[in-house]
Structures are given as C-alpha cells and as structure tokens.
C-alpha cells in the first residue's frame, strides 16, 4: 500500500543521523521532526534565524518574537541560538547544515527541482528554497510520486520553472525511495506492498531497477 504523508515522514526520519543540523521545509518535511528517534541528537534549523527549534508552545505561552520559517509560533530547546538572516544563510550556503528536507512539485532524473512557481498562478516567492537547494550537500525531497491527476512528478526534465539544477540526491515518495544518479532514478526501496511495476508506471523519468528491490522498513 502506498504511504501517507506520515509514512513518508517516518521513512525520511531514518535518514537523519546523530549530530546532524537539519533544515526542514514546510509540509511533509515538518512532520519528520516527530519521528526522529530520541536516542540521537539532532538540531533543527529554521532559516528565519533559530537553531534548536522545539515543539509548539503551550497555549498562553506564544511569543510573537519566536517563530519558525512558516511564521508559526514555536519554542526552543536547551542549546538553542538565535541569529540574523545573513548568518542563517551562511550556515546553509557554507554547508554547516548537513541535511535539507523539502517538498517539490517536480524532480527530474538529472536532479533538477521545481517547487516555487506555476506559470499563470499567483507566485508567492521562493523564500529560502533556492539558497537551500543550491547549497546543501545532502538534499532529500519528500513528495507524492504523482499529482492529483495521476501524472508523474518524477520526470525526464522539469516542466515548471526551476528552483535549482542538479541538486537533489534522494527522493522519498508515497511509493518508493529513489536516488538520483547520472543515469536516472535508481530505485532503492518500495513502499510496503507496492510493486516495481507500479513504481515504473508512475515514473516518467528513467527508472533504474537493479536486482531485487526491498520493501521500506518504517
């Protein structure tokens, strides 16, 4: 069965390693924080200027001066720090943040990503996405494998305006875990009960299947 958003978040949480500083995008990536094992030490960065983000505050304890990049009220954990926007992107551009997890509208087999603009629709802006994808050493995209109309979002070439070129390393969808290689999307894992054929049918870009593909462990 294909994963839901929580399933995708749970699978991505396994990619988060002890000692990582991690930037989480809006949507499914935000959920990843809930499934990182307590046995490892991780700090979450929000690009508006905080490291060591904690959960939402208790009612009555919200502070307009402490928010995340989604403008939501948050708390901080022991060891947290605040900093300005230039320093925040110094952490990102300077590759001090080890892992970036973000959503996408389209990913291409060459690692291009599109997630900020749909021509003809109101454009809200790229925020920090272009800085993040251009800089991070390790980028994982969390997304549904197909759009609502059933069309593949894993393409030969992106059709939407790009956010970054050749930057995506790994993709976790509701159907599969894939790695971007010079030859295309290497299939690493299947969602429980999902066949290679189903993944193939949902992937427009070149899908590379080598040997037996294991099911994800969640």
């Amino acid at each position: 069965m294909a994963l839901d958003k929580i399933g995708i978040a749970k699978r991505i949480a396994k990619e988060v390693k002890d000692g990582y500083y991690v930037n989480l995008g809006i949507g499914i990536p935000t959920l990843v924080a809930n499934y990182v094992p307590e046995s490892i030490n991780v700090e979450f960065q929000s690009e508006n200027g905080v490291l060591g983000m904690g959960p939402f505050p208790f009612e009555g304890e919200e502070d307009a001066d402490i928010i995340n990049a989604g403008k939501q009220t948050i708390t901080t954990l022991p060891g947290a720090s605040f900093f300005d926007s230039a320093m925040s992107f110094a952490m990102i551009r300077g590759q001090h943040v080890q892992l970036t997890i973000l959503g996408a509208m389209e990913v291409a087999e060459n690692g291009d990503i599109a997630n900020w603009k749909i021509p003809g629709k109101m454009v809200k802006g790229m925020g920090g996405a272009m800085d993040l994808v251009a800089s991070a050493e390790n980028i994982i995209v969390a997304m549904m494998h197909t759009n609502r109309a059933g069309a593949s979002k894993l393409l030969k070439r992106c059709s939407l305006p790009l956010t970054g070129v050749g930057c995506v390393k790994k993709i976790v969808t509701n159907l599969a875990v894939l790695e971007v290689t010079p030859d295309g999307f290497q299939l690493l894992e299947r969602a429980p009960g999902v066949s290679v054929e189903e993944i193939q049918a949902a992937t427009e870009g070149n899908l590379i299947v080598t040997g037996t593909i294991p099911e994800m462990e969640l």
Partner: protein, 233 residues
C-alpha cells in the same frame, strides 16, 4: 559618546520623500518596524521601492502602505498571505522582484560591509539568474548579485541605547541587523530605549555606528501571523 536618539517617530523619518528606496526589517510580521510603517502611512509618501523579505498582511505591516498604493515596487523573497498585494501585482500596478531569501540578506549585508557585489550559488540555472553574470569557482557555478542601494533602512530592535547600540530578541532579529548601515540613513526603533552605559557592551548585537537615528516606539502590537500551540497533557 555620539548621541543618536531623536524625540519621536516624526523626527526619525525626517527627509523621507516620494520615490525613495527603503529597506524594512522583519520576517513575516515578526520584528517589523511598526512605528516607522505607521508614520510612512501618515506621511503619505508614494512611489516607494521597498526592500523587505515579506509584504505584510492585508491590514498590518507593509500591507498598510499597499492599501494606500504608496509602494511602486517590492523586492522580497516571499509575498503570500496578502490579497491586496496579489490584486495590485496581477493588475500591473505593483512591480515585484522576487529574490532568494539568502541573496536578499547578503545584498543587504554587502551594502553594509562595503562590498559592491557577491557571488552566490542560489538561483543558478533558474530564471533568477537570467541576464546575470555567472562564474565558476572550484567546479561550481555562482551568480553575481549586487549590493542594494537604499535611502533609508527602518529596523526594529528589542532594546537600544542613546548611542544607537541595539539588542534584538528571538527570531525578531532576522533581517534587521543586516539592514543596519546598509542604507544612507538607518533608523532604529526599539521597545525600550535606555541611556548609553546601561547596556552591557558584550551583549550588543549591532554597534551604534551603523545607526543614525534611534527612538522608542510609542506602542507595539506584535501581531502573530500563525498562532500554533500544543495542549498540556
């Protein structure tokens, strides 16, 4: 000591005229110069170019200037959550330049630090880089982005002293420190203005040299854009 304090917001904004380019600190509604924005509305200056990460919401922040059609152009990284903005943008009344958030910060900082331009990897290969100079360093491609030029920077800090030294609080810091000294005149508004010598020099985030005018804001609403809470279990 060089004194930077002015009596009120009116004095702080003396010299602001039509057609100017303004920098305004803040991320979302957090850390925005509320009092300077209110005064810009009062002054009714128009044809403004505003460099600000966001454009406020319909009835707060820069949305107040948009309502009165005082802004000609916005330079921002994200402009959602604002219907009037969307209307003016789609009708062509308002010009909008969208740039990556880190590039926005660094173009401010470059102006502050005396760099004419910077190279950034952000936006390479996308429409953001169209028509711009690019260059390879160590096998990776970068885009040349120029330092901003602005007439006034309006920033908001938590505490400040009469010498113009500033301390920020939480994530209300955001773009504010990057904009200090990045325009011809930097105007800082603070929640609490104290005599010079009161603040610990070790704890100053922005030295007064980057600030020309400082005043204590008459009031702060500090509106929360997305109130998210958890229940006590």
């Amino acid at each position: 000591m060089i004194r930077k304090e002015v009596a009120n917001v009116k004095d702080a904004l003396a010299g602001v005229t039509n057609n100017m380019t303004l920098m305004l600190g803040g991320f979302g509604l957090s850390g925005i110069p509320e009092n300077a924005i209110a005064e810009l509305v009062q002054l009714n200056v128009t044809n403004l170019t505003c460099i600000s990460n966001n454009a406020g919401v319909d009835d707060f922040g820069l949305g107040l200037l948009l309502q009165k059609k005082q802004i000609k152009k916005m330079v921002s990284s994200y402009v959602g959550e604002n219907e009037e903005f969307e209307r003016q943008m789609l009708s062509g009344e308002l010009a909008v330049e969208l740039i990556p958030q880190g590039t926005l910060a660094e173009r401010c900082r470059a102006a502050q630090a005396g760099f004419p331009a910077i190279y950034t990897p952000a936006g390479y290969g996308t429409e953001v880089a169209e028509g711009k100079e690019t260059r390879e360093f160590n096998g990776k491609m970068y885009v040349l982005e120029y330092a901003f030029k602005a007439d006034f920077a309006f920033v908001k800090a938590w505490k400040g002293d009469t010498a113009g030294n500033l301390i920020f609080k939480g994530t209300a810091r955001n773009f504010n420190p990057c904009m200090c000294g990045a325009a011809k005149i930097t105007v800082a508004e603070v929640e609490e203005l104290v005599p010079a010598g009161t603040l610990n020099p070790n704890e100053i985030h922005i030295p007064g040299i980057f600030v020309q005018r400082i005043f204590q804001g008459a009031k702060y609403e500090k509106r929360i854009e997305q109130r998210t809470v958890r229940q006590k279990s």
